[in-house]
């Protein structure tokens, strides 16, 4: 297993009801696999998974990317700074 930290921002934080959580995931889980897992375990977040942006260690990550050991992950909507 791989223990990772998952951060939430903006709408994702509101829906998750938390700023972050620690998560045990299988080794070699991909971003797509993570989205599937979150959709299954956190119904409040299911709807967000189609448009969510996900980062691994502060870089944008895509569906096929494998999550490395002890990664810092984040989930958030398209950005709106300025």
């Amino acid at each position: 297993m791989n223990r990772v930290k998952l951060l939430f921002f903006a709408t994702l934080r509101d829906r998750a009801g938390a700023k972050s959580m620690e998560l045990d995931i299988p080794a070699d889980l991909t971003i797509q696999g993570l989205k599937d897992k979150i959709s299954e375990e956190y119904p409040n977040l299911r709807e967000s998974m189609s448009s969510v942006l996900i980062t691994i260690n502060r870089e944008y990550a895509f569906d096929e990317a494998v999550i490395p050991t002890n990664a810092e992950l984040a989930m958030f909507p398209p950005v709106s700074g300025g």
Binding site: F9, Y60, F76, P77, G81, G82
Partner: protein, 152 residues
């Protein structure tokens, strides 16, 4: 000589004069500054009033992405001397400046205007900052419409 690049995410008031001084060198003759502020009354598109905006950021990643925006500006406009990118976060009321992008160069015809424009456009695409709009009718998170691709 090393050109100054300043980027920060702050809860403090944005000090334009101080920032401009930091990106002004003896060789500098032009600066293009973009600043955006909280708009209290929106008349274009969805007409509405804004009580305040509440900004938040994924600070360590936002700082890295601001650095990347600055690098992209330098790659496109090698004549740029100083770059300052500052985002204010927290609860901000109408008329309050929220963002400042300043680019300096020796002369005005070297791409400084385009560089500052690129800086604000790019920040709105890839730098992880969000704002929640609070208006008399309720509140909602503003979401952008850009999806970064691999390598961004």
């Amino acid at each position: 000589m090393e050109f100054p690049t300043i980027f920060s995410i702050t809860e403090d008031e944005i000090d334009l004069n101080n920032l401009l001084a930091k990106v002004t060198l003896t060789s500098t003759g032009a600066a293009a500054i973009f600043t955006g502020m909280v708009r209290g009354a929106t008349t274009r598109g969805d007409v509405h009033e804004t009580e305040y905006l509440e900004y938040e950021a994924y600070i360590p990643m936002a700082e890295e992405k601001m650095r990347q925006v600055a690098q992209e500006i330098r790659a496109r406009w090698p004549s740029i001397e100083g770059i300052a990118i500052v985002q204010r976060i927290g609860k901000l009321y109408p008329k309050t400046p929220t963002i400042l992008i300043a680019c300096t160069a020796a002369h005005r015809d070297t791409g400084v205007f385009e560089a500052a424009r690129y800086g604000i456009d790019r920040l709105k695409e890839i730098v992880p900052i969000w704002k929640k709009e609070v208006s008399p009718g309720g509140e909602f998170w503003v979401e952008g419409d850009y999806t970064p691709t691999a390598g961004e």
